[in-house]
């Protein structure tokens, strides 16, 4: 059977500028992608007493902390919604995004052995890191469901849009994760930049506070800056779709364009510099 087929021809040539994404090659290695995700999910809570409970416990504790300090002490407004549910519905997609970006950003540097000893499409590494973050997100969604039952909040038809909105958040995470992963290989400064960046980004995103209304108390500069952040529209849209409030479609559309753009920029930049990874990692 082997000798009848023309064997596949592989050309190894010097790198030339920008490369295509070569999604076909990634598809050929889909099993590797699957096992890398599976490894990250499996290993994350190994040798912990509470195991996968942590996936639920972390957002729960975060929610509790923000409820006490923001909801009660600082009196941050959450509109008509009870603050804990409001905060959790924002924290869920945000935590996913933050985990995905930071683990994606450190993924290539952390896979040095793989990169220097085996060939495979390099994009699989940050993709797998982002993919693995979905597992925690799914576990935490159950928690949100329980809380919504307790508070008697029913999601509306908008819930149907939630997977789409999450998909866009996923693309945004892929974009930021791959870009940071590629930069991190050449400039290890990003190891320290990433946590700081994620922290800063969280406060620049209306995750645990309500986006100030256009004519509200917030200054117009803050308004403009918040609107520039693609996560603003995505988090707001996700929260609205889950909690049954009107989805801000316009903001979502703008953010989606930004997210898809970020995804393309991240992946293409990654492809451009990936040929040097094995030499400089």
């Amino acid at each position: 059977m082997k000798d009848v087929q023309v064997p596949p021809l592989t050309l190894v040539e010097p790198p030339r500028g920008w490369q295509g994404l070569d999604l076909r090659e990634i598809w050929r290695f889909r099993d590797l992608l699957y096992f890398l995700i599976w490894r990250d999910v499996k290993v994350r809570y190994k040798q912990t007493v509470l195991g996968a409970t942590w996936a639920v416990l972390q957002p729960l504790l975060m929610m509790a902390v923000f409820t006490v300090f923001f909801g009660k002490l600082a009196g941050v407004s959450s509109g008509d919604l009870p603050y804990p549910v409001f905060a959790l519905a924002g924290l869920l997609p945000w935590t996913f995004f933050a985990t995905a970006v930071s683990s994606g950003g450190n993924s290539v540097v952390g896979s040095e052995r793989l990169i220097t000893k085996v060939y495979f499409p390099r994009l699989a590494v940050p993709f797998a890191a982002v993919g693995a973050a979905v597992a925690d997100f799914a576990a935490a969604c159950v928690l949100l469901g329980v809380l919504m039952l307790l508070w008697g909040i029913a999601p509306g038809v908008g819930l149907l849009a939630a997977p789409l909105i999450f998909g866009v958040i996923f693309l945004a995470a892929i974009g930021a994760g791959t870009l940071l992963a590629a930069l991190n290989v050449a400039y290890r400064d990003f190891r320290y930049v990433i946590p700081f960046l994620v922290q800063l980004w969280m406060f620049a995103t209306p995750t645990v506070y309500l986006q100030p209304a256009a004519d509200g108390s917030g200054s117009s500069v803050v308004q403009a800056l918040l609107a520039l952040n693609p996560m603003t529209g995505l988090i707001a849209a996700f929260r609205a779709s889950v909690l049954g409030t009107p989805i801000p479609w316009a903001a979502f559309a703008v953010s989606s364009v930004a997210a898809v753009g970020a995804c393309l920029v991240g992946c293409y930049y990654f492809r451009k510099v990936e040929s040097t990874f094995a030499d400089i990692i």
Partner: protein, 439 residues
């Protein structure tokens, strides 16, 4: 039929970071980049373009060769000859700087065993993970699973995290997964020197099977015996260039000449080593002497091994422990000769001195060996030299029994006696000395 591997004028250049560019650790930080960018015009003016080019290092240069389908080709060369870089380029881990390679067939490469193993995962889980890393499909791994477990001999520990494995079990499992790849072109770096002797034999057997199954194999090794037994043709690299190509026996002969080169007369100058790292450079030279006191590269089987090491210690070293290690060509330690163990405690060394070591009847079997040097004081290593000197043990009439040994790794003088147990016969003893093999 077109060649399976067609390599044309391949070149790979690395930019070597020199000490004056601040990037000592090899990583470029943003600050370095910004500084370099700002000061670039200044540097250009000061050093000119020629100086900038001097920090380039060509690991491979103008390399052209072709491998026919189903051919098993060995790649030999000294350390730093470019063998590993060649394999990395062929297995698409790094891109070449010049030239091109055409590979016809599914490529499987094995540059290290156990890449992708995760210590927290069980043996079973790691088989799947490692298999996927090596490019196998999930169904394919499931199909070969039992074969892998059987080859690795780890049956009862399948559900144990591999971090609890012994190092032997770990490499056995890792090699077992790799041994079940079925590529059309297999690229293998020095990975067979794993596990114990029995397992190494099994690995060699597996490699031979792969070679005979019609798979094109490119095989790097320092073990000339393995090269000679597996390959039909070989390439000799030196300084990133192809210096010889042809029949395996011929290339191995050339390789030996190259390796023995500067130390071919039994003297290795160690004073200006560059690889010593942070340790001191105490060893100056090592010489192997024959019974006449002349430098040599050969030790007769069971005969005198006599090494003279010249030291130059800047400070006084009290109670130094000097080690001569003898490794085989795969890097396996076969013998260690250590000063305190031999009860010749050296009180101190200071300044320049010669240290001599004699083994009256050298116990290793005929073959090729590397001599390694080490010096420590109070268990702190001060200097060591890997692969300091290359020498051979020659087959010969070791113990006067008329022939050399045929099996085993080492020899020992032994006394044999025969006592007649039949009745009434006077006690008769026949004693003779002969060589005994242990393996």
């Amino acid at each position: 039929m077109p060649p399976a591997i067609d390599c044309q004028r391949l070149g790979k250049c690395y930019r070597v970071t020199t000490a004056d560019t601040n990037a000592v650790c090899g990583y470029r930080t943003l600050r370095d980049e910004v500084v370099a960018w700002v000061t670039m015009p200044l540097h250009r003016l000061r050093r000119g373009a020629r100086a900038a080019r001097a920090s380039e290092f060509w690991a491979l240069r103008d390399l052209s060769f072709a491998v026919k389908p189903a051919e098993v080709v060995g790649v030999v060369g000294r350390n730093g000859a470019g063998k590993s870089t060649l394999l990395k380029v062929l297995s698409r881990i790094t891109k070449p700087t010049a030239g091109r390679v055409a590979l016809r067939g599914r490529v499987g490469s094995l540059l290290e065993v156990g890449t992708g193993f995760h210590p927290e995962l069980t043996g079973r889980e790691n088989i799947y993970l490692n298999g996927a890393v090596l490019g196998m499909r999930r169904r394919e791994i499931a199909h070969k699973f039992d074969g892998i477990v059987e080859f690795a001999e780890i049956g009862p520990f399948l559900e144990t995290p591999v971090k609890r494995y012994s190092s032997g079990m770990y490499v056995r499992l890792a090699f077992a997964v790799a041994a079940h790849m079925e590529p059309e072109i297999l690229i293998v770096d020095e990975v067979l020197a794993v596990g114990d002797m029995a397992f190494q034999r099994k690995c060699m057997g597996r490699m031979r099977e792969v070679g005979q199954s019609g798979c094109t194999v490119l095989f790097v090794s320092h073990n000339m015996a393995a090269i000679e037994s597996l390959c039909t043709r070989a390439l000799l690299l030196d300084g990133g260039r192809l210096v010889h190509e042809g029949d395996v026996a011929d290339v191995v002969r050339q390789y030996r000449r190259l390796v023995l080169g500067p130390s071919g007369d039994g003297i290795a100058q160690l004073a200006d080593r560059s690889d010593s790292g942070r340790r001191q450079r105490i060893f100056r030279s090592v010489t192997l002497l024959d019974s006449e006191g002349a430098p040599t590269n050969f030790v007769p089987l069971g005969g005198l091994f006599h090494a003279r090491i010249t030291l130059d210690a800047q400070t006084t070293i009290a109670f130094p422990a000097i080690t001569i290690g003898i490794d085989d060509t795969t890097g396996q330690r076969l013998l260690s000769l250590v000063t305190p163990l031999a009860r010749t405690v050296v009180e101190r060394v200071a300044g320049r001195c010669d240290v001599e070591c004699r083994v009256e009847s050298f116990p290793l079997a005929p073959g090729e060996y590397w001599l390694k040097l080490g010096l420590a004081a109070a268990d702190v290593p001060l200097d060591d030299v890997e692969r300091a000197l290359h020498f051979s043990v020659l087959n010969g009439d070791a113990f006067g029994e008329g022939r050399g040994i045929h099996r085993g790794l080492c020899v020992a003088p032994s006394t044999w006696s025969v006592r007649d147990r039949t009745e009434h016969s006077p006690r008769k003893e026949t004693a003779c000395r002969t060589a005994v093999c242990s393996s």
